[in-house]
């Protein structure tokens, strides 16, 4: 009899604001530290042109291999190049490689994974076969092989990283899609006449994106280390472009003369890795729906 009456005591649904995720992230000490480190590193990489005291390839022959001085806060290398400037520019290289390749992997992996999960079974088997074959390759070996054939460059590094990490994203997207495929809300959408593309992009993506983002933020430090490793071996960026890996490499050659290069290349590498890992773990706590339902 009261069916027509609207409920007046409906609770305030706006409580869960758009920023609640961010607030929750900042409340977590690990997340806050991670966020601060990441912001610092990213902004210093973006602003390298303005904050670096010298050009990263400018020589100062008189001050070769110097320790920290007021002119060169972190000393210079064997060619007299300013180490601080070089590691700021190195950050730019590291982050751009990481962000470009991880976002490419994420998008490609998401798409292929959903296709495998939602599409016909034969396509699924084929894609899974491809993913598994790629995953069987060790990343570094694969990178070395490709670089020997194509020659070292930043693009090669990005391509290798994308190819080897896509299966990770695709597998997660696929499993999640498979689990969602038979849920009632997907059936309900289909019963309303929604086409597969709409179901995938409008209803599956928002439900699978969270674990992929977590994986992505955890993958960034891995990619940064891969890039540094390859550059350390001389297979990444070409000189004179600065990279944390090449700074480290040079630092090792002259470690008896000055320890500052190793510090200038190593510390930012470690900080970035830690920052993104913290952030990734905090993100996982935020996105985990089980913790969210209080």
């Amino acid at each position: 009899m009261e069916a027509k009456k609207s409920f007046s005591d409906s609770s305030d649904f706006r409580r869960e604001s758009r920023f609640s995720n961010l607030v929750q992230l900042v409340k977590n000490p690990l997340g806050l530290i991670g966020l601060i480190i990441v912001i610092a590193i990213v902004s210093s990489a973006i602003c390298a042109d303005w904050i670096a005291p010298y050009d990263y390839k400018a020589f100062d022959i008189k001050a070769r291999l110097s320790g920290p001085t007021w002119d060169h806060l972190l000393g210079t290398d064997n060619l007299g190049r300013d180490t601080l400037s070089r590691s700021l520019y190195g950050g730019r290289v590291a982050l751009s490689v990481a962000l470009i390749s991880v976002s490419l992997s994420l998008v490609i992996g998401l798409f292929l994974g959903m296709l495998a999960g939602y599409g016909p079974r034969r396509l699924d088997s084929l894609l899974v076969l491809i993913f598994d074959s790629i995953r069987a390759f060790p990343t570094i070996m694969f990178a070395l092989a490709v670089i020997t054939i194509v020659g070292p460059s930043l693009n090669t590094v990005i391509a290798v990283v994308v190819i080897t990490t896509v299966p990770g994203y695709a597998r997660i997207a696929r499993t999640q899609t498979l689990a969602l495929k038979h849920t009632e809300f997907i059936l309900a959408e289909r019963s309303l006449g929604a086409k597969p593309i709409r179901v995938m992009f409008s209803h599956i993506v928002p439900n699978v994106i969270a674990p992929l983002l977590i994986l992505a933020s955890m993958d960034i430090p891995v990619v940064i280390t891969i890039e540094a490793g390859l550059s350390f071996l001389g297979l990444g960026v070409k000189p004179p472009t600065a990279s944390w890996g090449s700074i480290l490499n040079l630092g090792y050659s002259f470690i008896r003369d000055t320890p500052w290069m190793v510090i200038a290349g190593g510390v930012p590498l470690i900080l970035t890795t830690l920052g993104f890992t913290f952030l990734g773990e905090a993100l996982r706590d935020v996105f985990d729906p089980k913790l969210k339902k209080d």
Binding site: M1, E2, A3, K4, K5, S6, F7, S8, S10, S11, D12, F13, R14, E16, T183, E184, F185, L187, A188, E189, R190, S191, L192, G193, A194, K195, R198, H203, P206, N207, K293
Partner: protein, 334 residues
Amino acid sequence: MANILSINNLRVRFRTDGAVRAFIDRNQDPYIDAVLDVSLSIERGKTLGLVGESGSGKTTIGRSIIRLVDPAGGTIMFEDEDIGRMSSNRLATLRKDISMMFQDPVASLSPRKTVGSLILEPFKIHGIDQINQNQKARELIEMVGLNEAFLGAYPHQLSGGQARRVGVARALALNPKLVIADEPTAGLDVSVQGEILNLMRRLQVDRGLSYLIITHNLPVIRHLSNHLAIIYLGRVIEIGSTKDIFTNPAHPYTLGLLSAVPQPDPNKRREKLKLEGELPSLSRRPTGCEFHTRCPFAVEKCQQESPIRQEIEPRRFVSCHFPFPLSQVKVQTA
């Protein structure tokens, strides 16, 4: 035409083994029939209740009507068209005319969408955008007795009853002619149950809707449907008007179902027909009358011969060798 939907000899089968597996196991028949020879019809503006235990195939019948599962045989006529032979384009538009409500009120709403966008979803799917979206959303949410504040809510913030109302709004958004409701009261409290059923009833009268209600809840269906079809192992074993079936069940299974409903009165403790055993497996259907394994009245004939569907009264069919004579067995069923 008086019937908005008529189903004839519908058959739905599922594959149990993959092709390779079936070959290795020398399984000649890797299929099970989930629905067999089902014939029923729904009158325009009326409600048909589909009653059966879980695993009886009642949900599959509902889903095959909107082709979420494909039938293996038989015809499903909606007005004058065979749904089984529709092109995929026609099927997409068919879903404006027939809509479905799923069992779990909360889980059938996409979890990361707001109620507002969920309600407008049907319009987006069918490319209907020449409407005032805000106004339409408000109209729909008020139609089901919720206020505007709910448009910003996410499904997990809703109670079962509220989520069910949103489901009703979504199902009715495009003015369908037929609504298929799978267990519309599942998981709802008794006091809320009534609200939802009254709402569905009011909307049926206002809009001339026809309903197909799939349920195992006999006390509820009694107040909501005009006709009943009782399903056992994917077959219709009795069909007729709700009133007749409740007062004079002709099939022993129907009688068993009715007697199994517990009465909220300690004076009426069960002294009725009790069915032994459980639903047999679909892959090993019993011979003869498929109910004979649980039927307290079964005789030898029941084990050997399948009963033929007989019309014991106008529009009242039963598949049993020995249906209860009408007006002889009076069941006590509140």
